[in-house]
């Protein structure tokens, strides 16, 4: 893994601003398109792959996230990078007819899969579907009580800008919850996880979606994502208070929480 870029952030050099796309260094303006290609490719079998790759544990991680949302009837919730709508579904029940849930995703394929799935399950009335870039949210200031982002932040080109946007659209006292892959400090778990991520995941991707590259990107993007303390610092820099994180499954995943003062 020595050839991986050393920085998690977008940076400028002589050839223009660059960022990482997995272990590759790409021009900043190219990353969004490349990520979009990945998700267009996996959208149709996203849920199936999530269940297979995590052995269903992603549902427990999302369940844990829900406990920290504190969502109440009548609340307005933004589920950004909401994909196939796992969290939106739960929010829809909790906010009730007086509340509102916005399922937003930058990728129209993912959004379509999510919208169809929710409609098929009978969810309507308090859900809006919005194609939106986390770095430039099309919402007014102080609009939401809660924002959640599950397994989406590592795909965002300018994470700091996205966090500032979340802060802008949250109401004072509102909370941001980011569930994302992180870094485990257990050396044994780390080795097993590396072996699984770089061997088994691309193979499963190849077998099920006929796309090993997208799942190789998934493993690489996880390694390039900021660790727990760095992300907590980014939350604080974006203006969030009472920032904290909870490690899950030995730190493979972490839930970060911040409150807009």
């Amino acid at each position: 893994m020595s050839d991986q870029p050393s920085s998690n952030n977008t940076h400028a050099n002589d050839a223009g601003a660059t960022t990482h796309f997995g272990y590759q260094t790409v021009k900043t303006e190219e990353k969004q398109g490349k990520v979009a290609e990945v998700f267009h490719s996996v959208a149709a079998k996203y849920d199936l792959m999530n269940d297979l790759m995590s052995f269903g544990v992603h549902r427990l991680w999302k369940r844990f996230t829900m406990e920290f949302t504190g969502v109440r009837p009548g609340n307005h919730v933004l589920d950004i990078a909401g994909g196939t709508g796992d969290l939106t579904m739960k929010f829809s029940d909790l906010v009730g007819p007086e509340g509102k849930v916005v399922l937003a995703d930058i990728n129209d394929s993912m959004l379509k899969v999510g919208r169809d799935r929710l409609i098929d399950k009978g969810y309507s009335g308090n859900i809006e579907y919005v194609q939106a870039n986390a770095e430039a949210l099309p919402f007014e200031d102080n609009s939401f009580d809660v924002i959640t982002m599950a397994f989406g932040l590592r795909n965002v080109t300018d994470k700091d800008q996205a966090l500032r946007e979340f802060n802008r659209v949250l109401k004072p006292g509102g909370r941001l919850l980011v569930l994302e892959f992180s870094k485990t400090k257990n050396p044994l778990l780390s080795k097993a996880y590396d072996l699984y991520s770089f061997s088994a995941l691309p193979m499963m991707g190849k077998l099920i979606t006929n796309d090993a590259e997208s799942y190789r990107y998934l493993a690489e993007s996880i390694r390039m994502h900021p660790d727990q303390e760095t992300l907590k610092g980014m939350f604080e820099s974006a203006g969030f208070a009472n920032c904290e994180y909870h490690n899950l499954t030995g730190g493979i995943v972490a839930l970060h929480k911040g409150i807009k003062p």
Partner: protein
């Protein structure tokens, strides 16, 4: 313990409870009326908290209860105490009375905690219907009949064993007092405590006058 394992345990327990409640619609409806109240179960030894949120029927969500390891905000009621005190209440015949007499500490809406105890008292799950879903009605009826007979016999055996043990310990070995003797003793202790309280109050009154 890792939060993922706790979530796995809670998710499994929640599924079992809600599946079982589907076979007792009366209790399920009464529970739905408690929505969206939250009851905190705070086990002090070993330290472990569970929050029970009562849920009315969502579009496709949980109906019955939702079990959580963490709750943002204050629960409507909380029950705290050691694990064995919870087990004693859960396994007693009259859960309402057992809860009132237990070492469990109730905070917040005692109505909610006692209401749950009443619901558990009235719980009547139609196990035969549950089995029928898997095996069909004829086999389920046979299994149900056999199970009822077996449980009845086990219950009788248990009660007889309990009576024999009580008789042996109390009458033959004279290691424990008779229930009536015990009650009399407790009544005397209670009277004594009241007298001591009254005496203490009088002494305090006199001391106030003297000062």
């Amino acid at each position: 313990m890792d939060s993922t394992l706790i979530q796995a345990g809670l998710a499994s327990a929640e599924t079992i409870v809600n599946q079982a409640l589907n076979y007792d619609p009366a209790t399920q409806q009464k529970m739905a009326k408690l929505a969206p109240k939250v009851l905190a179960i705070e086990i002090t030894k070993p330290a472990f908290n569970v929050y029970i949120r009562f849920c009315a029927e969502g579009t496709n969500g949980v109906q019955g209860v939702q079990l959580m390891s963490h709750f943002e905000g204050e629960a409507d009621a909380s029950l705290s105490g050691e694990l064995n005190a919870f087990i004693n209440v859960a396994t007693s015949k009259d859960k309402h009375a057992a809860l009132m007499q237990s070492d469990l500490h109730i905070r917040g809406s005692s109505q909610l905690a006692l209401g749950l105890a009443d619901l558990m008292n009235d719980l009547n799950i139609d196990w035969e219907a549950m089995i029928a879903k898997l095996t069909g009605p004829v086999v389920a009826h046979v299994i149900g009949k056999q199970a009822r007979g077996l449980f009845g016999q086990l219950k009788k055996m248990g009660e007889k064993f309990q009576d024999d043990v009580v008789s042996y310990v109390r009458d033959e070995r004279q290691m424990a007092a008779h229930e009536l003797e015990g009650e009399d003793q407790f009544r005397q202790i209670h009277q004594l405590r009241l007298s001591v309280d009254r005496l203490e109050a009088r002494i305090q009154k006199l001391a106030t006058k003297l000062h």
